[in-house]
Symmetry: C2
Amino acid sequence: MEKIKVCIIGSGNVAIHLIKNILEVSELTLVGVFARKVENISFLVNAQILFSDLSQLPQADLYIMAVSDDAIFTVSNTLPFTDRLVVHTSGSQPLEIIAAKNRRGVLYPLQTFSKSRNVNFKEVPLFVEIEKETDRKLLEKVARLLSFNVYPLDSNKRKALHVAAVFSANFVNYLYGMASDILTTNQLPFEVLQPLIKEVANKVQELSPDQAQTGPARRGDYQTINAHLQFLESNLKFTEVYKLLSNLILEKYGKL
Amino acid sequence: MEKIKVCIIGSGNVAIHLIKNILEVSELTLVGVFARKVENISFLVNAQILFSDLSQLPQADLYIMAVSDDAIFTVSNTLPFTDRLVVHTSGSQPLEIIAAKNRRGVLYPLQTFSKSRNVNFKEVPLFVEIEKETDRKLLEKVARLLSFNVYPLDSNKRKALHVAAVFSANFVNYLYGMASDILTTNQLPFEVLQPLIKEVANKVQELSPDQAQTGPARRGDYQTINAHLQFLESNLKFTEVYKLLSNLILEKYGKL
């Protein structure tokens, strides 16, 4: 069986995790990687297939652009070929942002990637969108070789998903940071919160967030809420977040 | 060696998890459990040591009150004995809320407990406060038999810790719920977010929340932020939370 030839365009966190995983799948062959700064990625990719000039990218069945949102149009427009399958990996950009001279698609991995952490890519949900139905089979095949969780998803729903991810990942992490600041101010190490944070995330792997909700606002415990607000009163931003989220929880559970 | 005799007062989630774990520690012996409704807990505790009348509670080395915050004073005041060691398990109440006729202390487990989920109690951080130094040895010994992570903590710092827990657990779970609502409205299952939620929590077991922060606000990506606000504009509460938290992140990382 002939291997599927893939090129990666980009050298950021998503590109690195994609490359690592493509290299592990025998049905795929990585034929080229484009990086503006090849030194960012030379630890991972052989020099023979690493290019800093788009025009040198070899022929492939699939080009995956893992570049920043605002570079997608320019980079796709600069590609020195037409009518090949080119996909982006962005949660917030529509398929149409890719220059129309190629056949277009999206392969959106819903995960937070850091250079310093390995992620089990097989468990990362991949969301696939395709312009021409004749390309669906190939793109979905590649997606399934990389992950157990592949879903078709149009640009509109992908935007909803991306917004939901901001709430449940970026904002959540910011709240971890607020908690960390409260602890530091009181000479307590962040480590004491780690088991709680883990369990709260594990709980919603089985229960719905609605079933899992606990805390003073959930119980309508105004005495504790007021004591907390008094504790926080010298800090405007902590007070603001505490008030807004407590009020929303009180409202949701009919305790207002 | 003589076993340490413990009574539990209460039959809620904290009481149940304490009882389960005390029953597994050979150095401890559960001599009595008080429950207003004994049927809540009869699945776990032998009828001979289960009481619905406080005056029947047997002699013990330690009485642990796992009751709601607003019951601590009344219950402790109703205890038909004096000068024994009585502790509460609340994050937000001072030691002094326990009626002064007994020797007082606090044993605060920092975790979210649900009836339907087993928690590895050995990993739950336990925070200990004691009125009389002569009681410290016993309370800390019991705590260390139950958990690997035992810390001394005064009432003031315990309040700080409890506030931090509200941010990183209750508010975080509410954000999971908002994300779930966004997905439901768009006919997407909550399951697609579960790997992301888990990884965000796992990340801060190694990195600080500050190092782990990602997302449009972290990058100062106003184009995506504005697209998200437009997407959310028909819903006031989603818009309010999105704006407040994005602004705080933009401010924190100098992108405002």
